[in-house]
């Protein structure tokens, strides 16, 4: 079974470009219904299928995502 991972998203830095959503092979991420202080909808985790591949974080222009993976 694939290793479990998790992401931490700094929602106040997110600009809602949605590139992370397209890059996630597990469809873990989606856009929020709320907006942050900048007025952008931000990325949120919608399930626990994350494998910690870090694709979302690599493609995030604003470096808002930190990725963890079980050892």
């Amino acid at each position: 079974m694939a290793k479990k991972g998790d992401v931490v998203i700094q929602i106040e830095k997110c600009k809602g470009c949605e590139l992370c959503i397209a890059s996630c092979p597990q469809n873990v991420l989606a856009m929020s219904d709320k907006v942050n202080a900048k007025g952008f909808r931000y990325a949120v985790k919608v399930n626990s299928d994350c494998t910690g591949c870090a694709n979302c974080a690599v493609v995030c222009p604003d470096a808002v995502i930190t990725v963890y993976r079980e050892k």
Partner: protein, 253 residues
């Protein structure tokens, strides 16, 4: 299974240490942020943060000196390779890079770019090509594609009256001083990782005093192309990549 994975020992990816905590001013989905990060990560991997000097251009990335946590200098428009030449000659043991857009490097700075490459200065030139003047509002750049619309070519670039798009990487690859010229993109995770490897290679060549290295990053401009970030990446794949094919243009023999 509600095990908490968010512990320092499980960390696999975080923002590069060679970048500051400052929020980037770029538009949502702009490739500049990812290109900054990949270059910063290459600097991290080689552990040369304290020995790197960057030159910021004029253009969207004019504020790059706020984001890279290395010594940075701001050059006059287009003059980054000339400034980098001076710094590298005075401090030859340092790693020197310029970070320039297409309006800076391929338009006003064409002379500096070509002569720095021709002299074979031991610098890394990072060239972000989105085919448009981003900061000033989307005017036509030398790199604008045929029939591509911009604010100064509203009906599309007409080759007869507006000239041909310029492939600057192919141009400098012909010069004897250029050691390594390559073209990448940062719009997908795989491409971004390849770009980082190219930056690393170029910095390693610089250590060996091999000559000028130019890494072009074909990028998007969602705001001025008037598309969403996802649409702009798709448009880039369909229109930019056929004219600016990704891959190595000049590799060491």
């Amino acid at each position: 299974m509600a095990e908490n994975l968010i512990k320092p020992e499980n960390l696999v990816y975080e923002k590069s240490k060679s970048m500051t905590e400052r929020e980037l001013h770029y538009c949502p989905g702009c490739g500049h942020g990812t290109a900054h990060r990949m270059l910063a990560e290459a600097i991290d991997d080689l552990d040369i943060q304290g020995e790197t000097i960057g030159i910021a251009p004029v253009g969207c990335s004019v504020l790059a000196y706020y984001y890279f946590d290395v010594d940075m200098l701001e050059a006059a428009h287009g003059r980054a390779p000339a400034v980098a030449t001076g710094i590298k000659r005075v401090l030859p043991e340092k790693y020197v890079f310029t970070y320039q857009g297409d309006g800076d490097l391929a338009a006003i700075g064409t002379a500096e770019t070509i002569h720095a490459c021709n002299r074979g200065e031991n610098i890394l030139i990072v060239f972000i090509n989105n085919g448009i003047y981003g900061m000033t509002g989307g005017q036509m750049a030398p790199t604008t594609l045929e029939n591509m619309k911009s604010t100064t070519s509203p009906r599309g670039r007409d080759i007869k009256t507006m000239g041909n798009p310029l492939k600057i990487s192919e141009l400098v690859a012909e010069l004897p001083g250029t050691y390594y010229a390559t073209r990448h993109s940062v719009h997908t995770p795989a491409n971004a990782r390849k770009t980082k490897r190219a930056f690393k290679k170029a910095l390693e060549y610089q250590k060996e005093n091999k000559g000028t290295c130019l890494v072009e990053v074909v990028s998007n401009c969602p705001s001025n192309w008037k598309m969403t970030p996802a649409e702009s990446n798709k448009w880039m794949e369909e229109n930019m990549f056929p004219f600016y094919p990704l891959g190595d243009i000049k590799t060491p023999k």
